[in-house]
């Protein structure tokens, strides 16, 4: 357990020093800043569409840390050293996902408060948006590690990552944006269920990809 915490702490430290922490936040807030320029200062329109834009920005921000999640550790032999010490690939993936939740999901959640203010989102929606993102961000963290493991070392890993991410995140986006609607129905519950399933499965998918990539 202590070793697991040490590995998670290493992930957070690498994100902090390697730009993996700030890049998604800056991107996310840049979208929130630019969007009102596109639509014009129509407060009603911004209130109606702003939440959805932040959702899309959060999904796309998931792609930004992908290149530094797995590849550097594979090239430097860190993954080999962990495997040598009896770490299963699934456990390594779980530690990396936990690291992403701390170093990617939490900062993005905090940035949402700023982003919502930039767009002028009504306060009633902010609570729903934060709850929805809080439910979905563990799944996005899992997906980023999974996609990083799948595409590590491939040419055009980022572009490929985008292609992989989009179809898997569509349910999250539908339920997440749906929860912001006037009549949300069970969207939040479905979002929670989808996110739970993706979060729970991603360490296994990522672990299998790590194993397959070991040569």
């Amino acid at each position: 357990m202590r070793a697991f915490v040490a590995l998670v702490a290493r992930e957070v430290r690498l994100a902090w020093t390697g730009g993996g922490l700030w890049l998604p936040v800056v991107f996310y807030l840049a979208v929130a800043t630019l969007f009102p320029f596109v639509t014009g200062p129509d407060k009603a329109l911004l209130a109606r569409t702003g939440g959805g834009i932040l959702w899309i920005a959060a999904l796309l921000a998931t792609l930004l840390p992908i290149e530094r999640l797995i590849l550097p550790d594979r090239q430097s032999g860190v993954l080999d050293q962990l495997a040598l010490r009896g770490w299963s690939d699934e456990l390594v993936a779980t530690a990396k996902i936990a690291g992403q939740i701390v170093a990617f999901a939490l900062p993005l959640l905090l940035a949402t408060i700023v982003g919502a203010a930039l767009i002028g989102l009504p306060e009633a929606q902010l609570g729903t948006l934060l709850l929805g993102l809080a439910l979905a961000l563990p799944a996005l963290s899992g997906l980023s590690v999974m996609i990083a493991a799948l595409t590590a070392g491939l040419n055009g890993a980022s572009a490929l990552g985008g292609l992989l991410l989009v179809p898997i995140t569509i349910p999250l986006l539908i339920f997440g944006a749906g929860a912001l609607a006037e009549d949300p129905g069970n969207a939040m519950q479905l979002l929670a269920a989808t996110s739970l399933a993706i979060t729970a499965l991603s360490p296994f998918a990522a672990g299998a990809a790590l194993r397959a990539g070991r040569i």
Binding site: L7, R10, S76, G77, D80, L84
Partner: protein
């Protein structure tokens, strides 16, 4: 030296063959190493030395035959596995903590590889030989029973080579096993010297 827990480390390869990328890299290879053995594996570039070490480390699967290792394993290959932005000491501490090694063991490893003066330097500033010494120090601090050293002499100056010789002999003397893959003949007394030919068999 650390107290070793029974059973004594041992390493057995029985008629091992490995296929990589549609090519037989190793075939018909058998090694039996007991506590206190240093095994020196020689051969041309590409004859399968590194493959053999990765196999023993459990990072590759055998195509046929069996590998059985008793005891904890440490590997020093061409990959440093130390975070480039951290200081040498902090990067080594990460692995020492993983292995549950005490501060004394870590300091001794730094001292054995003459890294005390470099301890506060970030890993990315190290030279080739210094990087090699850091990766050897990582193995020393791991307190593992079986050391797998892939071309450990590459880039080392003569003083560092002597330090490495000394460390490996001390490890064997305390009951450990060392597998050295190198292209040059052994510079120390070894239990077995194994020459791999181009077919990956012991010549």
């Amino acid at each position: 030296m650390s107290l070793r827990q029974a059973p004594l480390p041992s390493l057995n390869l029985d008629n091992v063959a490995v296929m990589r990328g549609n090519r037989m890299v190793l075939r018909g290879l058998s090694i039996a190493a007991r506590s206190g053995d240093i095994i020196w594996i020689r051969g041309f570039n590409g004859c399968g030395k590194s493959t053999l070490l990765r196999l023993v480390a459990g990072l590759l699967a055998v195509t046929s035959g069996a590998v059985h290792a008793e005891g904890r394993i440490a590997l020093a290959d061409e990959n440093l596995a130390l975070d480039a932005n951290m200081t040498v000491e902090a990067a080594l501490r990460f692995w020492a903590d993983m292995d549950g090694a005490s501060t004394n063991v870590r300091d001794a490893a730094l001292m054995d590889m003459d890294l005390q003066d470099l301890a506060i330097i970030p890993v990315r500033f190290l030279s080739t030989g210094q990087r090699k010494r850091a990766s050897i120090a990582r193995v020393l601090a791991s307190q593992a029973d079986i050391w797998l050293m892939d071309e450990p002499y590459n880039g080392l100056d003569s003083a560092s080579c002597a330090r490495l010789d000394h460390a490996m002999l001390a490890h064997a003397a305390s009951g450990g096993i060392v597998l050295v893959a190198a292209h040059q003949p052994p510079s120390i007394n070894v239990a077995h010297s194994l020459l791999l030919d181009t077919q990956g068999t012991a010549a």
